[in-house]
């Protein structure tokens, strides 16, 4: 294999992984700050100016806390749970196109780690495996609250995966490709998929709330019923991994939504800039910036919803998933098919 390509990919992977971890780290701070704002209080403001060192303090705290593994727990699976949760959260970033190509010293560098032609299915597979961490951790804890939480997590994820997949099928009918790179290229400028798939986007958004176990779908860690849910028995950094994986999942879900429906790195006026003689590298960098603005807006939306919308009851959650989301998703497919047939392309 080409050694330069290998080095390039290793650097790209490290940068993407680093950025996703740092973003997830500061999402924890943003969550507490925004919660403070919405509840008319300050939020964390002691560690550093405006509390910006708070995530570091939290990390040190979690690492130095005593670690307890229950005697009756299945030790191997107990450790495997948070590791899997973390792994499955991180691998999703591999197929997302973060920007166009950069020219560095005569070498064209693609800002997408792997442009596989089954990108969407890859994302879907990662989402399907995401529930394993919670299930394994919850089952291995040997605690009835953890077990109930794991069962909830499994049934919730399976239910919402169906409407997630169905909403994606309608999108695929519009784009005609499974490759995320091509899907973003088709949305050049302001020609975003959200204009063609508004209902599909709302379904996808709702399902990603359910898949990341965020409020109003966080029945999995419903503290009024289940103590701590699947992480009741966890302590120290294993607990930290579970909580942290949720924030990485939010980051990945935001990136996927920006890519599929909001044009990814495309921004209005990019062709005008190119005609005005701005070099491709600058346009690429502005595009990466645009991508991150979209991702950060989605992360803000996730936090905003968490602190404004109350939690569903479990039967309401299931009813929403099976009786409303799936019929809507199927209707969306039919409407998309009819429109494509009528417009003839």
């Amino acid at each position: 294999m080409d050694i330069a390509l290998l080095i390039e990919k290793v650097i790209l992977i490290s940068v993407v992984l680093g950025i996703s971890l740092v973003t997830a780290m500061y999402t924890t701070l943003a969550e507490r700050k925004i919660a403070g704002f919405l509840q008319d209080r300050y939020g964390p403001n002691r560690a550093g100016p405006f509390g910006i060192l708070q995530p570091l303090a939290d990390g040190v705290k979690l690492f130095t806390k005593e670690e307890i593994i229950p005697r009756e727990a299945n030790r191997f699976l107990f450790v495997l749970g948070p590791s899997l949760a973390m792994l499955m959260a991180c691998v999703g970033t591999a197929v997302i196109p973060w920007g166009e190509e950069l020219e560095i010293g005569g070498r064209t560098v693609s800002l997408q780690i792997a442009d596989v032609n089954i990108g969407i299915l890859y994302i879907f597979g990662v989402v399907a495996l995401g529930v394993y961490g919670i299930m394994i951790g919850g089952w291995a804890s040997n605690n009835k609250y953890s077990l109930l939480s794991a069962i909830r997590a499994a049934s919730q994820n399976i239910s919402y995966e169906i409407s997630l997949g169905l909403s994606l099928i309608a999108l695929l009918m519009v784009t005609g490709t499974l490759s995320l790179g091509e899907i973003v290229e088709q949305q050049r400028g302001f020609n975003w998929n959200i204009w063609y798939q508004p209902l599909g986007f709302i379904l996808f958004l709702t399902c990603s709330f359910a898949e990341t176990n965020r409020n109003p779908f966080d029945l999995v860690e419903c503290e009024t019923e289940l103590v701590g849910g699947y992480h009741t028995e966890y302590s120290s950094m294993k607990l930290g991994f579970f909580l942290f994986a949720e924030y990485i999942n939010i980051f990945v879900a935001s990136a996927v939504m920006s890519t599929l429906y909001f044009g990814g790195y495309n921004f209005p006026g990019m062709d005008a800039l190119a005609q005005a003689g701005v070099s491709q590298n600058w346009i690429t960098l502005i595009g990466v910036g645009a991508m991150f603005v979209k991702v950060l807006l989605f992360i803000f939306f996730f936090i905003w919803v968490r602190w404004t919308v109350p939690r569903f009851r479990y039967d309401q959650l299931m009813k929403l998933g099976w009786n409303i989301m799936i019929p809507l998703a199927i209707a969306n497919i039919v409407i998309t098919g009819v429109v494509i047939w009528l417009t003839g392309n």
């Binding site: 191997f76 089954i118 299915l121 597979g125 399907a128 495996l129 299930m135 089952w139 499994a154 399976i158």
Partner: protein, 182 residues
């Protein structure tokens, strides 16, 4: 590259053996997950990335989740009793497992027969396909290929399978419904 193939195949065989002989059903299910994952890796080696992802989606993401689901809903005491009842016999293979061992050996004998009977270097259809340029290089759009073939050449089997699965689904829903009358 060949080394990766042997590593994947090794992981798969080791995990499969563990699934077959293990007495701890939880570990067996998670090793089964490992088997499916390694198998997906082997599919990628065969340039069938679509099949690999489908394997992960359907088996690892669906079937094994349902297995774990069943495991979680099973009474732990019951599992413990079964394990204790079996712990008196020999450690790995038990007399009760004799039919399954015989069945596995029979399947193995058939496979061995096929492997030794076929002359792998001189298969006629393979030479014809190579000569006609009808082979995969890894740069084609496999999804398109699969989709077009399913909708044209294999339409009848595809539809038969759909109807069959629908029948199974309706049957499952019928069996699982709440019996309110009588």
């Amino acid at each position: 590259m060949t080394a990766i193939f042997y590593i994947l195949a090794g992981i798969m065989l080791a995990a499969a053996c563990y699934v077959a002989v293990s007495r701890d059903i939880a570990r067996a299910v998670f090793c089964f997950f490992g088997v499916l994952f390694a198998m997906a890796g082997l599919y990628i080696f065969a340039l069938a990335d679509f099949v690999a992802v489908t394997q992960i989606l359907v088996y690892a993401g669906g079937v094994v989740v349902l297995m774990i689901f069943a495991l979680m809903l099973t009474d732990k005491q019951l599992l413990e009793n079964i394990r204790r009842g079996e712990s008196s016999g020999p450690r790995l293979f038990r007399a009760r497992a004799l039919p399954s061992i015989l069945l596995a050996l029979a399947v193995f004998a058939v496979l061995l027969q096929v492997i030794t009977a076929v002359d792998w270097g001189n298969m006629a259809w393979r030479h014809e396909a190579v000569a006609a340029g009808n082979r995969i290089t890894g740069h084609e759009n496999m999804v398109e290929n699969v989709g077009v073939n399913l909708m044209t050449r294999y339409l009848l089997p595809f539809e038969v399978i759909s109807v069959f699965l629908l029948a199974a689904l309706i049957g499952a829903a019928y069996l699982a419904r709440g019996r309110t009358n009588n």
